[in-house]
Structure formats: C-alpha cells, structure tokens
C-alpha cells in the first residue's frame, strides 16, 4: 500500500499575540511547527504501516525552503519518502491553487491508495485543501475521520459530525482529512532522528510536476486578501471580587432574574 500524507509548516498560532499599541501581530519568537492536525494524519499513516507490512508512507509539503524541517520531523517518526514542493511560482496560492499544485505533485508519485490530510491548517483554518485535492484527483474524500481500518481494497472509516459519528465504507483509493481524536502522535525515534539528520531534500519545482503555470500562485488564486486587521478588543463588564461566594452568587441570580434572562 502507498499512503501519501500532505503536511504543512505553520507558525504556532498559540504564541501569536497582538501588540495592543500598534495593533499589529507580534510574531517574534514564534516557532514554526508541523500543523498539529497533520501530525495526526502522519500518525494514522504510520499505524497503518505497522499493521500492513510493505506499506510506504510519503510525506508531501508545499512551502518555502525551510519547510524541509517538517519533512525531517516526519522522517524521524518513520516516513519513508518525502517531497518538498518549492517554487516561487507557488507563492501566494490560495486553497484552490494549492489544491491544484498538490494534486499535480501526487500525480508524479507512485499511485497512492490513501491520501491523508489534517482536518485543517491552524494558520488559515480553511479545511478546504484536502477535499479540493481529492476533487482534482477524482477521489472520494471523507472529512473529519477519526478511525480507519483497511480490508483488501476497501476502507472502513469513522467520521465525526457535530452531534455524533458515522461509519462509512469506501473503495480505495480515497482521501481522508484526519481529526485530533484519531490518535496520539508519536515522537521521533532515535534511529529516525539519525536518518532525518542525513536527509537531503532537493526541492521539486512546478515544472517538474508538470503544473500549468496559469493555475499557480497568487495570480491564479480566485480569492484575494483585501485587508487584514486585528479584531476589536472586547471590553469586559463588571468584576466582583473579595466578597463571600454566597453574596456574589445571590447577586448574580438577582441580576439574571431582573434582566429576565432566567
């Protein structure tokens, strides 16, 4: 079996802060990480590889040269092959153009049985690239998957909804976007770390995957970011402290009744 995992390098958004004076993003010291949901996608692939000997796991990323860091991380955890899709022609791609580029790159790899994505990337939070790539590839795509079992050329998949989950059956090849609940990502092994250290990754260009330049980058992206701004700071209401809990509790209930909220 061949499994392709698409992973993205993202800034760790929990460390991003707004400077209240200049109202701009403070990104200083924010580390770049593998998108957390993509770690779950990779883990799903590695667990399948353990259960189905002979499975190959390829990790694909599109990004700037430094995105090689997440490929090294992936190799450290047990990925067999990597591809770094890196070319100025991809700059500014929105989800439409990114989906196209990734689908062309996957077309150059040995035919996959499974293509895995994270549920969403935490920088853009769009969750659009996975289903988009699947459409370019003409594959079914199950979003929000938390469990998978493979039997022959079929997969049994559990996917979550807002209020429950569904058990689905699908013929391979297919694509999945993976939830955090699916598993707990492993750490890189010592042997893996050695392999990662030695890893040399030559970037793959748009031309090498046969991508149509008219479908790449900012100029081919239907969406345009018009402006970026910080959300207006919320102002809190009243703060009660230093009184007996019973007094504060009673005052709250009185207030809610007075406002006819309860």
């Amino acid at each position: 079996m061949h499994i392709v995992v698409c992973a993205k390098q993202v800034p760790n958004t929990t460390q991003v802060r707004i400077n209240p004076e200049t109202n701009t993003l403070v990104r200083e010291g924010v580390e770049s990480i593998m998108n957390p949901f993509d770690e779950n996608a990779l883990e799903m692939a590695l667990q399948l590889k353990e259960r189905h000997p002979g499975t190959q796991v390829t990790v694909l990323t599109m990004g700037p040269p430094q995105a090689v860091d997440i490929l090294k991380e992936a190799v450290g955890r047990g990925a067999d092959e990597v591809m770094l899709l890196c070319d100025k022609a991809f700059a500014g791609s929105d989800t439409w153009a990114t989906s196209y580029a990734l689908s062309m790159a996957i077309g150059k790899l040995p035919k996959p049985d499974l293509v895995l994505f994270g549920k969403q990337a935490i920088d853009g939070d769009t969750a659009q690239v996975g289903p988009g790539v699947a459409d370019w590839l003409g594959m079914p795509c199950i979003t929000c998957a938390c469990k998978i079992e493979i039997a022959g050329n079929r997969a049994l998949v559990e996917r979550a909804f807002e209020d429950g989950y569904e058990k689905l059956e699908v013929a391979l090849p297919c694509a999945l976007t993976v939830l955090k609940e699916a598993n707990v990502p492993r750490m890189a092994s010592l042997r893996g770390k050695m392999a990662a250290k030695k890893l040399q990754v030559a970037p793959t260009t748009a031309e090498m995957v046969g991508a149509d330049p008219a479908k790449l980058g900012l100029s081919a992206s239907p969406t345009r970011v018009m402006k970026i701004f910080s959300p207006p700071p919320k102002t809190g209401g009243v703060l009660w402290q230093g009184e007996e809990p019973a007094v504060m509790a009673q005052r709250l209930v009185d207030l809610l009744r007075e406002r006819k909220l309860i």
């Binding site: 990104r27 700059a91 939070d125 079914p140 909804f161 970011v225 970026i228 809990p245 509790a249």
Partner: protein, 395 residues
C-alpha cells in the same frame, strides 16, 4: 504581481519581518529584506515600514466583466438531514435577504436529498424566493461526491453570483469540491458578510491564526463568489407563515456514490447539544478532575436544562467527550447565557463563544483573559461559588 520591496529605500530595520503572519519576510545578509514563497500579498506589512519601502503590485489584467455579468442571484445551500433543515440555513436566509436586496437579485435556496419530505415550505417562509430541488437516491445520505456533483451542475446551469453554505462539517466537507469543479473562489468559515453595490463584490470577513487576526477576502474575477459561513453568527430570518415562492425541480443524472454510509450514531442522545443551546455551562481545566463535571451538570440542571460545554484542555484531559468542546476546533455557540467555570479564556476558546448574549465567568485568577469578554466576572474558587449559585437558583 505581489509584494514589492524597494531595496533603495529599505533601511534593514526589520520591522516588517516581525509583523508578517506568514513568515514570508526575512532579512538578507546585508540586512535588507526579501520576500519568500509564503507571501500571500495580504498587505499586513505595508504600514509597518517606516520608510514606505513596501508596496503591493496589483494586476492590470482587464477584468473579465462580460463573462461575469451573466451571473445573477444569491443562493443559499439548505442543509437538510432526515428531512430537518439545519438552523444555519435559516441564518443564511436572514443575511442572504439583506445582501440580495442590496444587489437587487433573487434569494434562492438549493435543496438536495431523497424523499426527504417537504422541506421547501420552511425555506419559503424564511425568505427564499425560489427553491431549486434535486431528489435522487444518490443524495439520500450525505456524502461529498454526489452533493458536489449536484450543486456544481446547478451552478453551471443557472449561474448564481453568490453561493453561501453553512460552515458545518457537512458544508465544509463538500463545498471545496464544488469550488474546484466550477473554478470559483471559496472563503471558509466567514463571520461577516457584506456587498459592494457598484462592484457587486462580496466582502467576506473571517478569523485566521486562531482568531488573532481578521481577514477581508474578495473574489474579483471568478463567479460565483462562494463562502461557508459560521453557524450562530447571524440571526435566523423571521419566518412569515404561508409565504411561498417558485419551486424548480431538477432531474440530474448522478453517479453512484463511492462512499457508503453503514451506520449513523447520535452521540448526544441523552444530553443537550451545545450547538444551539440557549444556556451553556462550560467547565475548563479549573475543574481539576473528571468527576467534577457533575457539578457542571448540576448547575445546568438548576438553570432548567442547560447544555454542558468544555474547553479543549478539559477535552484533551479526557474528562468529557469532544462533542462538548467549544472554540476554534470545537463548536461555535451563541446562547443567551454562557457560564464559564475554571476556563482561562484563550483566544481559541473565545472565538467560539464571544458572541453569546450574556457571558459570566468564574475564575480564581483576577487576570484571566476570560474576564475581558465577561459581562459579569466573579473572582473566586469555583468549588465555593458554583454550589452557592446552584442554591440561589433553586431558592
């Protein structure tokens, strides 16, 4: 096109490097700044440059106006499961009405399913002028491929200029495929929508970077302009009993679905679902232990049947199932009363609940960010305050 850096002006101060949300700017060996592949031309850096060395080159490509002119009408994808219309569809009809009126076009709804009963009625009552309906066995259970195939076929035939869908797991699962098939831009999980009457552009605003920044997005050269819209940010349209409209029934040849639904399990059967609840009591890491969620359930009960929510920290600790999680990666809620107990109020939590009508926070740390959005903040130990609150509510 893209970001231009005037290297003669650049002083190498590095101010822009720090503000770029995408890590797309870096200083070269000589200190001057260069831009890499990660740039999205968002413009966030422009104002940071003290010497005006940064500018955005815009395309001078002639607008394909003629081609775009053929697109008219605002569509709402009406999400239906088991014959029941999802509340977000009524919210979209509410905001859709305002936008359609401003554009001077019809407000239409699209209904996909198989023998789902008469769902068109409520759509008309909530403001739809027209309902496009496809009834096909392939659409009986939701799976992404036939849904995408059907909606794409309708879009190609009738050419709407705007298509809105709920940013639910169903909507976000298949609309991206439609965007690829009809070659349109798609903006995910919008929280604000507006139109520019002259240019007929849909201005789509959405949070990014875990809610730390907001982005306004437009699709100037492609139609339709497509967006998924976060549930609970718009008020649902007021229904008008007996209101009707035009029904267009389409027969489409759809392919057999590749994905088969074997079983659907409702995990929230005996609990109040936080999405849609009027009252929510949320517990965070401050609860300290799984059994303390009983205290939340008791408070919920004292409020006359509230839903129990949880922060991600509580879900990650395994204290409660992820169906209860509120926030960026959980549910967006807009209850009448939201009571947060032992929740610090990190931005990823706040984006999921800060449009609640009344927010009450109980936390022993007076500096907890949750107090920044709370209408009433109580500084105290939740294990002392909540039992008193239950007593007062029952008293």
């Amino acid at each position: 096109m893209g970001l231009k850096i005037d290297l003669d002006l650049c002083t190498g101060c590095g101010a822009c490097v720090a503000v770029c949300p995408f890590c797309a700017l870096a200083q070269r060996a000589d200190g001057k700044v260069e831009v890499n592949e990660a740039c999205t031309a968002c413009g966030a850096c422009l104002d940071s440059c003290p010497v005006g060395a940064l500018s955005l080159e815009t395309e001078s490509k002639p607008l394909a106006m003629g081609a775009l002119d053929g697109y008219r009408g605002l569509w709402v994808f009406a999400e239906q499961r088991g014959g029941k219309i999802h509340e977000v569809s009524f919210e979209l009809l509410g905001v859709g009405r305002v936008l359609a009126d401003r554009l001077g076009v019809e407000l239409c709804a699209v209904l996909l399913g198989h023998q789902a009963g008469d769902c068109a009625g409520p759509l008309f009552e909530h403001g739809a002028d027209k309902v496009y309906q496809v009834d096909h066995p392939a659409l009986e259970n939701y799976t992404a491929e036939p849904y995408a195939e059907a909606l794409s076929a309708l879009i190609r035939k009738y050419k709407p200029e705007v298509v809105l869908a709920g940013a639910t797991s169903l909507g976000r699962g298949f609309i991206p495929r439609v965007a690829v098939q009809v070659n349109a831009g798609l903006t995910a999980d919008c929280t604000e929508l507006d139109v520019e009457a002259d240019s007929r552009l849909l201005i789509q605003t959405r949070p990014a970077f875990g809610g730390n920044i907001m982005a306004c997005i437009v699709c100037p050269d492609h139609r339709p302009q497509m967006a998924t819209v976060r549930p609970k940010v718009f008020k649902p349209a007021e229904p008008v009993a007996g209101r009707t409209g035009t029904r267009v029934v389409e027969n489409l040849p759809l392919k057999e679905p590749g994905v088969k639904v074997l079983e659907t399990v409702n995990a929230m059967q005996n609990e109040v679902n936080v999405a849609g609840a009027e009252f929510i009591v949320t517990g965070g890491r401050g609860l300290g232990a799984p059994e303390n969620f009983k205290l939340m359930a008791e408070l919920a009960d004292a409020l006359g049947g509230a839903a129990v929510g949880a922060s991600r920290a509580a879900v990650d600790a395994g204290w409660i199932s992820s169906f209860h999680q509120v926030g960026q990666t959980g549910k967006t809620v807009r209850p009448k009363i939201y009571i947060a107990c032992g929740v610090s109020g990190q931005i990823q939590h706040l984006v999921g609940m800060n449009s609640s009508d009344t927010i009450i926070a109980i936390n022993k740390d007076p500096d907890a960010p949750i107090f920044g959005v709370a209408d009433v903040g109580i500084v105290g130990d939740l294990f002392q305050v909540v039992p008193e609150l239950i007593k007062a509510l029952r008293g």
